[in-house]
Amino acid sequence: MSAQNAVLQLTGVCKRFKGVIAVNNVDLDLRAGEIHALLGENGAGKSTLIKVITGVYTPDGGRIEIDGAAICPKSTLDAQKHGISTVYQEVNLLPNLSVAHNLYLGREPRRFGCIQWKKLQRDARALLQRFSLDIDVNELLSSYSIAVQQLIAIARAVDCAAKVVILDEPTASLDSREVGLLFQILRTLRDQGTAILIVTHFLDQVYALTDRLTVMRNGEKVGTFVTAELPREALVSHMLGKELQAMEASRASQHTDSVDPAALQLRELSSSNGIRNINFSAQRGDAIGLAGLLGSGRSEVCAALFGLDSVTEGEIRLGEAPYKPRSPAQAIAQGFALCPEDRKTDGIVHPLSVRENMIIAHQAQRGWWRPLRRSEQNKLVADATQRLKIVCSDPEKPIGELSGGNQQKVILARWLMTHPQILILDEPTRGIDIGAHAEILQLIRKLCAEGMTLIVASSEIEELVAFSNKILVMRDKRLSTTIAGQDISENAVLAAIAEPD
């Protein structure tokens, strides 16, 4: 069974948490010069397995071998000494240090014991150049969006070019251009003999990039396969344990010539966050997609609508009435809801429980003096857990203990509970597995059919095309093209993103 030249070999690895067996008796061999995908549903145990390999958790059983020698990493630093470098699912850098310092933290270029800041900055710039990332490396990490932070974390790990590079959902918030660059770099690394383990929920990426793949389900290994020999349907049924119902690509109900005033209308909107002259209108039941490259202003439109940034010019109208939100509280009072892009800093409230995290937006809407009774809370939570298929052994456990995709679902459930009229989703399916992905898209369609207006910013064009009846393509913080109705297709959107005005 043990394959030739396995760099990293796992035998019978187990990891238990209170009440959950997250990883159960998993074997895995990772060979030099291969890209290996680790796949499975949300909560299957992928991130936990990675954390066991890299010393964040100590395993409850099993062996980890590097080049045939058993290792037992006590910390990620220790794992690094054994040649394993890792990008975790949640960006794990220091937000209050500069980008350059983050890239070289713990391995700063030194002369006579002093850090050579100039060299460090130069190197940092050169390193980010490989990712076509042209940013000021002296700025604090926290001043950049989660996608940029993720690229920085990847650049750091790749630059450490070790024997083994592990990436946990590195592409979750990147758009196709960055993904392409990343893949190029990974292929180069592979050709140099590095073993790469990558977790992703995008099957296209699995087939485009990887040589072999391992599927996990409920903490157990289902099997390891050669990617090219495994048909897509078989892979999906290995992951879900059942067939995925074919998803028909129907759009949200089309409202062509409605006589009603638009539910939401933006006229020449500019905000303090840099977006300029945005115009669009949406009817009840519309699903509007916001497409564009990284930093094109998708998230900024969402932020302006939700009262996070102030409107500097132009106006927003809700039906007939002008709308000028100064805080999220005011936006929520007008029927808005926003699932933010960065779930770790703007979404989850850790260490409050899953239940509290789910009901808190609804509770905030009701006001502190009208508390939801515990029985009502339990019912709401149980319904949402079932509806969104959230894997959670106990709603009273801290939300940080859920897997990444399940945290995302909790945030979605939180806002659905407020019954918004206008739901804004910024990267809604970040980290969500394919089974749940289909269900969430279905849910979105149903909500639109019930009259909710939806605004979705996403780097996944395929997803936008699947449910939007209008797609706004952003470039340089402006609206560059609007594609509506029958004209919507993946190619049309891609062309609009790529073409210069």
Binding site: T76, G347, L372
Partner: protein, 335 residues
């Protein structure tokens, strides 16, 4: 979570029980209670009575710490309230309701100063409240014209030395405040909102919570609690000493909150656990006095015992540390 609750309650309670047990060994009459003139007497009642001021401060402090703040000024607010009460009682405005209202107003005003420094001007809580901690005693001295102001007023004195329902008045007052605040926190959503804004202020803002107002309000509550404690202390000694009233009491209050298992970085809080923390501190002082150890060793023994209790709570502590070093290592890990 139920496991955690049991665990959270278990250690502070165990510590308290051990200290009480030590008392039993040292002096068998420690648990002796006696009813005289409809009032209960005994060492246990004494411990409760002495705990009352610290308990009052710790109630406000719990809320402030839950939002990730800290209030160093409560000792000084005690002194200001004392000075205001003593001077009013020596003037022609000496009716009880007026004095009480004035004291509460002083506490509220002080809390509003702290609250606005922190939530409107964005000053670090430790610095913002340090201002009033230092200035407050100066203000109290000004009000007292540098003297210790004494007064004769039996009605007001009964706040500190009277009895209600057979118990010392301070105990009853602290219990009522505790129940009121606990009710407000747990039978409305206030407790949840305070915890959320301490755990993750950014996410709380996205939820539509007004984090600034919440922060402002907890300092106001803390100021009010300090004013009540100030009245109890002043009534107890029937005088206001600007230099010594409530001196270092803010530190005991913070310690009580920490003994109750709250993190200074904000988040979860529990008023019942804080109360157990208060009792641990006070029971220990009483024990040291009763054991006949030379007084000069008091502070050292007290801090040693507290250190042990904090270390006993270390399972959660160690986990946090592990989490922290995990985060740091993961960074190093990519190096």
């Amino acid at each position: 979570m139920t496991n955690l609750m049991q665990h959270r309650l278990f250690l502070p309670l165990l510590a308290l029980a051990l200290i009480l047990l030590a008392n039993l060994v040292l002096s068998p009459e420690f648990f002796h209670l006696e009813v005289k003139d409809g009032r209960v007497y005994g060492s246990l009642v004494d411990v409760l009575n002495r705990s009352a001021p610290c308990a009052l401060l710790a109630i406000g402090m719990s809320l402030v710490i839950a939002t990730g703040g800290i209030d160093l000024s409560v000792g000084a607010i005690v002194a200001i309230t004392g000075a205001v009460c003593a001077n009013l009682l020596n003037s022609s405005f000496d009716t009880l309701p007026l004095v009480i209202l004035a004291a509460l107003a002083v506490g509220l005003a002080a809390g509003m100063v702290n609250g606005s420094l922190v939530s409107i001007f964005g000053i670090q809580p430790i610095v913002a409240t340090l201002v009033l901690m230092v200035a407050g005693r100066g203000i109290a001295q000004l009000i007292n014209s540098g003297q210790i102001a004494t007064f004769q007023n039996d009605t007001f004195a009964s706040i500190g030395i009277g009895s209600l329902l057979g118990l010392p008045a301070p105990v009853v007052i602290a219990a009522v405040v505790f129940l009121l605040v606990q009710f407000a926190m747990r039978f409305t959503a206030l407790g949840l909102f305070i915890e959320a804004s301490g755990c993750n202020p950014r996410a709380s803002h996205y939820l539509g919570l007004n984090v600034r107002v919440i922060k402002f309000l907890v300092y106001c509550v803390s100021g009010l609690c300090a004013a009540i404690a100030g009245m109890v202390i002043t009534a107890d000694i029937q005088g206001a000493d600007a230099n010594n009233a409530g001196l270092w009491l803010e530190l005991d209050a913070i310690l009580a909150v920490v003994l109750g298992g709250a993190a200074l970085s904000g988040g979860r809080f529990s008023l019942p656990l804080t109360m157990i923390g208060v009792l641990i501190i006070q029971a220990m002082s009483t024990t040291i006095i009763m054991s006949g150890i030379e007084p000069k060793y008091n502070l050292i023994i007290k801090s040693l015992v507290i250190l042990v209790v904090l270390l006993l709570q270390s399972p959660s502590f160690r986990q946090q540390l592990r989490g922290l070093s995990g985060a740091r290592n993961s960074l190093g890990g990519k190096a």
